[in-house]
């Protein structure tokens, strides 16, 4: 498909701006600072609409079909959330407008913080981080500040080998040394190994629970004890909160600090890669370090407060991704306690149902109870020369988005599947059927898999060429 620049035609205009209604005066900026050329396309409104509409039709979203990406929680994005987030009172509010005309926004944020506290068993939240990864960074900065305040020099963070890449990357950004702990044969943290590496030099451990294999760390209370006994903190990567809503609270498990992904658990759309929102919750001892401003209530009025001398400062301008928060808030208000619990129950039910259907055809490296997601291995198919990459591409032909592949790193030819609670039994059956067919194809006609996808707008794309000879922009 042509690029928008290739559809450009001289002197075409997409919008007509209002005429200048003030007296025009000479521009008094020195000529050396003035621009000579602007290279943007020249297209009409119809051109723009047709162009981007055509592009959208080559894109696959949750509204098109099943999107079983493990670790991403691709659940249905309620349309009412989109509508309420577009109310003028929200979208047309300037972040610096007087607080007296921002009470709606501040009340929403204040209450969202309370709800998230209740759901996760934490004492306070910041809504400032723009994404899960930024939430992790914020969390680690808080941990660093906490120990600095105590005058304890702790330079290390423990991270499981199954962790999401953002965990060690965030730790590095805070100049922590990363100690990787190997998962045991049950796919969980080994308590003996943990006891060995936990020391007074370790600031804490970053855990996902259920972990990235989809397995609940049932020794979590012990794990927290081992870390706390040596004065360390326990961080929860809340990406898998979908399995715990209304069932159990991370705050009860010994976690001191958690980040959530509103664009995963709380149904806000992924937007093709963003924006998201990564609120961070803490237990009381860490409260002084939260980013500012905080949202407080004075009598019946909500306001912003900067009066926190030990705060780590700001991680982002303004207050966070408010437009995303509105959708998460609406979701929680719509579902209530029972609705949220049902989310976790059905998410876990769907995953276990699908797992049982797929077990005959694919290897399951860890035979453990699973929660809302599970990781298969394409190793059986690999023996026939068919890689997980090929399986993923072939699924596209069957009209499904592929699951997450090659993550977590501890499983060979990993296929990580998270159906979420908004998928019906029919969809799961259809997906299982497609996977069964693909398993058969890998035995009988591997070539079909190796050359897939066949039914998509473009066939398999050359990733090597893209990396070796990067072309990152269009040029005339």
């Amino acid at each position: 498909m042509k690029l928008i620049f290739e559809k450009s035609s001289k002197k075409r205009k997409g919008i007509h701006l209002p005429r200048l209604d003030v007296p025009e005066r000479k521009v008094d900026i020195p000529k050396i600072f003035l621009r000579k050329r602007i290279n943007l396309p020249e297209v009409s409104e119809v051109d723009v609409v047709r162009h981007y509409t055509a592009l959208s039709r080559t894109n696959y979203g949750v509204d098109n079909g099943f999107y079983p990406l493990g670790s991403c929680t691709m659940k249905y994005n309620p349309k009412v959330n989109e509508d309420v987030a577009r109310l003028a009172g929200f979208t047309f509010s300037h972040p610096y407008q007087p607080e007296e005309i921002s009470q709606g926004c501040l009340e929403l944020m204040f209450n969202l913080e309370r709800y998230l506290c209740e759901v996760t068993g934490m004492d306070a939240y910041t809504l400032q981080p723009a994404a899960g990864a930024q939430g992790e960074l914020t969390g680690l900065m808080i941990i660093k500040a906490f120990f600095k305040q105590k005058k304890e020099k702790r330079t290390k963070i423990i991270v499981p080998d199954s962790s999401h890449g953002t965990n060690p990357a965030s730790a590095s950004m805070c100049a922590f040394e990363v100690l990787t702990i190997k998962s045991n044969k049950q796919g969980r943290i080994d308590l003996c190994t943990l006891s060995e590496i936990m020391s007074e030099d370790v600031a804490g451990i970053m855990l996902t629970n259920p972990n990235t294999l989809g397995i609940f760390e049932k020794d979590i209370l012990e794990i927290a004890k081992i870390v706390h006994n040596k004065g360390g903190l326990v961080y929860c990567d809340g990406a898998n909160m979908n399995a715990l809503l209304g069932i159990s609270k991370p705050g009860d498990m010994g976690f001191d600090i958690i980040h959530l992904n509103l664009h995963k658990t709380f149904s806000t759309p992924h937007g093709g890669g963003g924006p998201g929102s990564g609120p961070v919750g803490i237990k009381k001892p860490l409260e002084p370090f939260l980013p500012t401003p905080r949202i407080i209530k004075r009598d019946e009025t909500y306001c912003l407060s900067y009066d926190y001398p030990l705060s780590i400062g700001r991680v982002k301008s303004f207050y966070g991704n408010f437009g995303v928060m509105v959708k998460a808030y609406a979701y929680i208000r719509a579902l209530g306690a029972d609705g949220l619990k049902q989310v976790a129950e059905v998410a876990v039910l769907n995953a276990n149902y699908l797992l049982k259907k797929l077990k005959p055809y694919f290897d399951l490296p860890y035979d453990q109870p699973y929660k809302h997601e599970f990781v298969l291995s394409g190793s059986r198919q690999a023996k026939k020369g068919v890689r997980t990459m090929d399986i993923a591409k072939r699924l596209l032909d069957y009209g499904f988005h592929a699951p997450t592949i090659y993550f977590p790193l501890i499983i060979d030819e990993a296929i990580m599947i998270e159906p979420t609670e908004t998928e019906s039994k029919e969809t799961l059956d259809a997906f299982a059927n497609a996977m069964r067919k693909i398993a058969e194809e890998s035995e009988k006609e591997p070539k079909v898999l190796k050359n897939s996808p066949h039914n998509t707008p473009v066939s398999r794309l050359d990733m090597v060429k893209a990396s070796r000879e990067p072309v990152l922009r269009w040029k005339k």
Binding site: Y406, M463, V464, S467, R468
Partner: protein, 126 residues
């Protein structure tokens, strides 16, 4: 696949010893596991590395891998053609795909390197 005149390490590097010069690259197994190499981060000439320290970084589409120096030494030459053609590492890992040349500082370290037979046996266990 694993020339007998070379020596090998557990991290899948090969070494060619000529007097006090060691030429280093990665083995056939390593390049296959890494996938198509798209970028090579070469060290500066003159850099001194200890045995098992990272001396170069290889990037493929899906992974990043360190090349660990099999011996302690000073980098005296790097394979500049890898900048233009990183694929040489995949195509000719033992000849044109060489990565660095080091001046050996501690000849005793050579004793710890594996022969071609040892390396093949080691791969079988992996």
């Amino acid at each position: 696949m694993y020339p007998e005149n070379l020596r090998y390490t557990k991290e899948h590097e090969w070494v060619k010893i000529e007097d006090d010069i060691a030429t280093v690259g990665i083995t056939f197994y390593a390049q296959e596991k890494l996938g198509d190499v798209v970028f090579v981060e070469l060290p500066n000439v003159g850099k001194v590395v200890k045995k098992a320290e990272s001396v170069a970084v290889l990037e493929s589409v899906k992974a990043v891998s360190d090349v660990y120096s099999p011996v302690s030494g000073e980098v005296i030459e790097v394979n500049e053609s890898l900048t233009e053609k990183p694929e040489l590492i995949n195509q000719k890992p033992y000849s044109c795909g060489w990565i660095v040349k080091l001046k050996i500082m501690n000849p005793k370290e050579l004793e710890y390197l594996m022969t071609s037979q040892d390396y093949i046996a080691y791969l079988e266990k992996e």
